[in-house]
Amino acid sequence: MTDVVATNETILVVGGGISGMTAALEAAECGKDVVLLEKSPSLGGRVSQLYKYFPKLCHPTCGMEINLKRIKANKRIRVLTLAEVSAITGKPGDYTATIRISPRYVNEHCTACGACAEAVAAEFDNEFNYGMGKRKGAYLSSAMAYPQRYVIDPRILGTPDAEKAKSACKYNAVDLGMKEETVNLKVGAVVWATGWKPYDANKIQPYGYDRYKNVITSVEFERLMDPFGPTGGKLVRPSDGKEAKNVAFIQCAGSRDRNHLKHCSRICCMASLKQSTYVREKYADDANVSIYYIDIRAIDRFEDFYKRIQADPKVKFIKSKVANITEDKATGNPILHGVDTEGYHRYDNPHDLVVLAIGMEPSVDASRIMPGVKADASGFIDINATTEAVFGAGCASNALDVNRSVQNATAAALRAIQVVNRVSRAEA
């Protein structure tokens, strides 16, 4: 049984991405008790799935590691993975959260030696790589995973693979008898940091994400660059493994569109500018990048980054929202069709690979969290209309980059601290 001590002076943080980790750390370092819930087997969220991050183009591992170190060092943070909130009842300063914890089938004795994974035969789509490539039925979600503890996929239970994993483990860490648990926690305030998910590219019919192998999304593109990713870090296209030297980016794929997401996802212009440097990194002067855009929104100080990319002769900017994509059957090249706004020229441009700069939507619709938590038109938490002590942090509250997510999460932590401070004053 998971024993978690919590009182109505405890802050519950839901979601263990960069925002949730930040909020938890800020609150704990101010002396508050925090329970940090993460639905997946490890912390880090979508930042850990990026190859590099703008504007400085460093690898996310480094920023992540500092945060993990702070979390490990802090006795006030209790991390629960594979944990989801099923209900929150009560009022500010006095909530009961019902939490469902799924079994990992691996206990704290695990040394992440990997013997179980080697023993198991079954493979499944690798969710860390957005379904590209496979992983074993016993796995560590990524090399950086925290906690560094393997997971047994429930789908191998009852098959010979489960027993193989168990007998491969020298540390007695595989426990096939683990059961789902439900725990009720008393908490005073909640920071909601469940982040975002990429808009479903299949819904953008004219771009043929569902029909053409060489049309991928920006989140998948990040995974291609990762040395531990599905291609071992090679920038090659899915249909035939050919080097993707001529790459097109389509901006506002699913955003700023009343047929899809109404809002501007705010980070995708910067993401494509950043990803143009990936193509240059791999193929130097053989690289050709085309960015099809409505307008480039490199907000405030990112303007410098934009200027730098603009100066690159190998990166072309085409002011036009692509109308549709067809495929050249012989070469597998996607062909982009449209009309540009600077002169109204019609184009039919073939590329090796097309990357959809996919929009961001909240991973949890805020209006479903509990009554009193209000969503804006896009489903993000609207803090001004919310009457509960449930504070949105990071991409749960808006489409934000890491820098702004962290600022936003710090603000949410401060709001939560104020609520539990009121509780402790009342009880003193």
Binding site: D257, S320, A323, G338, V339, T341
Partner: protein, 207 residues
Amino acid sequence: MTDLNKVMVEKYRNDFLKEVEANVEEGNWVKMCMQCGVCSGSCPLGPHWEHPPQEIFMMIRAGKRDEVLRSESMWMCTSCYNCIVRCPRELPITHIMHGLANYAHRLGIAPKLNPTRRFAKMFWNNITAGGRVNELKLSVGLYFMDGFASGIKKGLEMLPVGLGMLKTGRLNPFGLFSGGHCKGAGDIRKMIKKAKEIEDKRKGFAA
């Protein structure tokens, strides 16, 4: 210049966008266009337009009144609705195209020889005369639109189709001679006349 055209030029001076908003069906949507280009790229007639819809909307904002209203472009629209379903801003592009064409026609400055305009006129006269379309008269009229010889040629080309329609009772062979009017055609004509009066008054077209 026709009188109505003169009146409108006087009334709106340099503000063509305002003129479009006030007088063209769905014209108030024009300013919502963000110039993304999806409509132009999606239009099946795309390569044949002089000015695709996106460009027309920009020309309206730029005050290019004559170029827009005298253009053949909006007469090319086939109402396929491709642009409407894809426009990220949900502009009723098809309707605006027809609205512009109709407005230019009312002003008397639409291109005289444009075949769509001539067909539309023929269709209108045909349907308002009898309260329903007399298909035989309409198609014969259409074939002979460009003169007698070309009419005979087109008629002969279409003969098998016509005969097939006759056989299945889809075409009334006496339509050419009888009126083929519906019951109460006179009342329909009165209603249309009244509707036109109301519309003219609302749009300030009334003489």
